[in-house]
């Protein structure tokens, strides 16, 4: 295979990971605030449906995104109310919503299955940036508005996390809500806000599937992507850059699976479509367990420490636990 051809495949793969990037950044923000929104699978699917239907009805792609964002926010509000205010299990609420919203999308979206609808305007290359060798063709050639918005989102989120006061507070309330409270922050209101923001981004992710990267709507249109987004967030160590990297990597794995399949015809296609999911989970298992630490413990101290920091990441300390103020 020519290298130019490979570059195009990779560029397309990176672009096609955009919805996952939105979802992963959204979930990363929510989880950093200490709330797990396990409903991702259902949220993305329902919002894909809502986005498509709204865009089709209004004949306007962007209204579709708006509708999807609103629905994503509403689902996140239910999670927030159940988890933060009523202090019920975040896992239970999120899981039920994941199933409920998937089924709701199938039920309500039934009349819209496999019909043409509006899509995001065509792809364009970014002048100047596309001329950077290797990077240009890979990142700035095959994208459309959403792809570039995805890059911007990752950058902005990173800047927000690590370069602003608000981001510092966000990280703080997920680690030690009691300490954040002691410093005068309204932990509950902030957790609500970040859960909803995460929901909005997941909603946009859903619409990005149905209006762009997997244009149209069909039964279980985005099946699996919500669960994988949750896994990528862990894989990404709750860092927006690493989470985005995970999402792009997943996109590349998926398209490589397609390539490999044509190269190794003996192995069935479908096995390759599941492979990235399995690989991602495997990576997760490796990075989040302490087996790695045991392996690393054979290395010299200073190497170990920096390596461990690079590979091994800890979740926000208060993740999944309601904040009891007393």
């Amino acid at each position: 295979m020519e290298s130019g051809q490979l570059l195009i495949i990779l560029a397309t793969a990176i672009a096609s990971a955009t919805p996952l990037v939105f979802a992963c950044i959204g979930e990363t923000i929510t989880e950093r605030a200490g709330v797990i929104n396990l409903s991702a699978e259902g949220t993305i699917m329902l919002c894909a449906m809502v986005g498509f239907v709204a865009a089709k009805t209004a004949d306007n792609v962007w209204l579709g995104f708006l509708a999807a964002a609103i629905v994503g926010a509403l689902i996140a509000l239910v999670v927030a109310y159940g988890a933060i205010t009523l202090k019920q299990s975040q896992i239970a609420i999120g899981f039920v919503l994941a199933l409920l919203c998937s089924d709701l999308s199938a039920y309500l979206g039934n009349p819209y299955v496999r019909i043409p609808g509006p899509t995001v305007p065509p792809r364009f290359a970014i002048p100047l940036l596309q001329d950077i060798p290797f990077i240009g063709p890979l990142f700035f050639h095959e994208g459309d508005v959403l792809v570039y918005a995805g890059y911007a989102l990752v950058g902005v989120t990173w800047l927000y996390f690590y370069r602003t006061r608000g981001g510092l507070t966000l990280r703080a309330i997920g680690e030690q809500p009691a300490a954040a409270f002691a410093r005068g922050h309204n932990v509950i209101a902030l957790r609500y806000a970040y859960t909803v923001i995460g929901g909005v981004l997941m909603g946009i992710a859903g619409a990005a599937f149905s209006l762009d990267f997997k244009a149209g709507w069909s039964y279980r249109h985005t099946a699996g992507y919500g669960w994988i987004a949750l896994a990528i967030v862990i894989f990404g160590g709750w860092n927006p850059l690493r989470a985005a990297l995970g999402a792009y990597l997943f996109g590349v794995l998926q398209s490589l699976a397609g390539v490999a399949q044509s190269a190794i015809p003996d192995v069935p296609t479908q096995a390759f479509t599941v492979a990235p999911f399995v690989l991602m989970i495997l990576a997760l298992v490796l990075t989040s367990s302490d087996w790695l630490d045991r392996l690393l413990s054979y290395l010299p101290v200073n190497v170990r420490r920096s390596l461990a920091r690079a590979i091994h990441t800890a979740p926000p300390a208060a993740l999944g636990r309601p904040f009891e103020q007393d």
Binding site: L86, P268, I281, V285, S289
Partner: protein, 365 residues
Amino acid sequence: MEGTAAPQTMNPPAPIAGLPPTVYRIGAFVISLILVALVIFISGASPATVIGRMVGGAFGTADQIGRVIATLSPLLLCAAGLVYTFNAGLYNLGVEGQITFGAIAATWTLRLLYPEGATASLLPPPAAIALAILVGGVGGIAWGLLAGALHVYGRISEIFAGLGLNFAATGIAIYLIFGPWKRPGVASLSGTQPFDESLWLGTFGRTEATPVALALGLMALIITIGVMRNTYFGLRLRAVGRNLRAAYVLGVPARRQLLSAFLICGLFAGVAGALQVVGVFHRLIPNISSNLGFLGLLVVMLVNFDPLWILPVAFFFSALNIGSLQLPLSLGLESSLSGVIQGLLVLFALLGRGLAQKYGRKPEG
């Protein structure tokens, strides 16, 4: 109440506060019913018609009742298994994979005993079926213990370990269906070559319901009720689930208890998977679990982990599943309405529980 942090002392004395706890639960239940009606209404149908068709679709003919029972049997097995993990404080989302792997193990057994075309073997068909169910159970145990080991020894959230193993099990099933076990001629999503009819589990008359599956499901449930109510094992499980540390201090071997929960749930789910193979599909298909594991999770959440109520709820959920199959044919609606109803009921049961805990009048003294 001024300044940035003032709302921190929230929980305003809500106008709905102070009623007896049951009021909140019933209220939440009523809201879920209203939402169901609303969803049906949005889809352009009349709720009464839809409900009528669903009841007819579930109980109209013997065949339909048979299908309800065919769905109920594996659901009972999964729900019974999940009672153990839930009571141990675990969210075993890996139950789907445990079903799938059980189905794979059962298919493997039958294919080994009866290679394609073979009509005679070491074991007569009934014994082969029994062995397949048994091996299916072992397969489920393997998959369950894998998740358990990842959780207990690798300290990985059982949720993600389970989800990952679900993907892995589906991947293996698909690989087998399209690879080594592919149908002569063309491989397809419709699964492996169906087994010879002699290897099918016997049914009630000409329906899809099989007495063996129903018996196994009911047995699992009865055993589970007995274990949770009457045995030290069940008591220890609840102790571990509610307070791992205190249970350990009181002398409960916590790790062993957690692994046992995974083992039993895996066993039941694996048997359910095997039954899907020998009793329902008669072959291995990619979605062999039919999402029964997730449905089982919903059932057990709705009954708040108490096995006594599983039978009626599981029966109702099965009837919903089968009844909704009529919708596409008669009303042009999607059958996933059953899932919507189930999801709304469970969601609002959880919210109602939360409301009752938060605002409900506390018993005096």
